[in-house]
């Protein structure tokens, strides 16, 4: 709702900027309490921890790599073939 209002209103609101900046700059602080919970898990979960951590590591890094290659393909490769000016000239 706020996004819709701000997009339509389209004027700077200083008090809103200051408050949102303050909250966003300290976003990591708000994740500390739930993150600490990772150190207090049950023994049953810890038994699965090696496979769990490996899965998270591989799939997250793989996911970022996949997304980066996809963006690269969509942004830099596709327009080249669409634009006649960028097609390689016949020898």
């Amino acid at each position: 709702m706020l996004l819709g209002v701000l997009t339509v209103y389209d004027r700077p609101l200083e008090f809103l900027d200051k408050t949102s900046n303050l909250l966003i700059q300290n976003l990591s602080l708000m994740f500390i309490p739930p993150s600490v919970g990772a150190f207090f898990l049950s023994a049953q979960i810890y038994q699965q921890f090696p496979s769990l951590l490996s899965t998270i590591l591989l799939s997250t890094v793989g996911g970022i790599l996949f997304l980066a290659l996809l963006v690269k393909l969509l942004l830099y490769k596709a327009p080249r073939f669409k634009s006649p000016a960028n097609r390689p000239k016949d020898q």
């Binding site: 706020l2 996004l3 701000l6 966003i24 602080l29 309490p33 739930p34 890094v61 970022i64 969509l74």
Partner: protein, 241 residues
């Protein structure tokens, strides 16, 4: 009215233990800025083990500590709403980028989910663990809802989401350098899709523009995953489990 009472109850449980989070965060922020923004020294990565160590030292259980941070937990709600402010400033840039953003979110959201299930199955993780991994790239409130629907462990998904965010901020810049993604808008979008709110916080460290695109990626991926994952979950389960 009941909603307001619940909110007040959460805030009113705040106690001195908030000081532990604040001290941890201050030390983390100091270390992070001294290192010139080294992702290994991100405030969350420094503060979390520090606070956990302090809790073990003073023999305090996690529930007491978590409840005592009521106001910080409550502030996550207004902060999520506040993310709309920087995003609104980027709205004019969006129309020409919508196709790329749309394809990246749709394909990327699907890939992060299916890859987690497939890798979990390959590494012989238990079925319950795999079901709790599927929504790992989605922000916590949405991930909890999805995990309940598909039969995973809610207590586990909270930790999985956090670890995903931490892994994301640790490795994202290396991948961006490797693939040569230099535009902060796309870096932000990828961080938001793959590392949700923690990735978004990291993106705001780079610039408001990067953060705004991370907010967009996080929000769209959350909605998309909530739409496709519960009804389609039987398919990867049948293939991989």
């Amino acid at each position: 009215m009941e909603f307001l009472i619940l909110q007040w109850q959460q805030i009113s449980l705040s106690s001195w233990v908030i000081g532990l989070s604040l001290v941890g965060f201050m030390i983390g922020t100091w270390a992070y800025s001294r290192s010139g923004g080294n992702p290994v020294l991100h405030p969350l990565l420094v503060a979390t083990p520090l606070v956990a160590g302090l809790l073990y030292l003073i023999d305090m259980d996690f529930q007491t500590y978590y409840a005592g941070n009521g106001i910080l937990n409550w502030l996550l709600g207004p902060t999520t709403v506040a993310l709309a402010v920087p995003l609104s400033k980027q709205m004019r840039q969006l129309p020409p980028l919508l196709v790329t953003i749309g394809i990246t979110v749709l394909v990327g959201g699907f890939f992060t989910t299916v890859s987690a299930i497939a890798i979990g199955a390959l590494l012989n993780a238990e079925e319950l663990v795999i079901l709790s991994l599927a929504a790992k790239s989605v922000t916590t409130p949405i991930a909890v809802g999805i995990t309940e629907q598909i039969g995973g462990l809610v207590t586990l998904i909270v930790m999985v989401v956090l670890l995903t965010g931490i892994v994301g901020i640790l490795f994202a810049q290396t991948v961006f350098n490797l693939v040569k993604i230099t535009d902060e808008r796309w870096q932000g979008l990828i961080l938001g899709i793959s590392a949700h709110a923690i990735g978004t916080a990291k993106a705001f460290d780079k610039s408001p523009r990067c953060g705004a695109f991370a907010t967009l990626g996080m929000g769209l991926n959350g909605i998309w995953t909530a739409v496709f994952l519960p009804p389609l979950m039987p398919i990867p389960v049948a293939i991989f489990l």
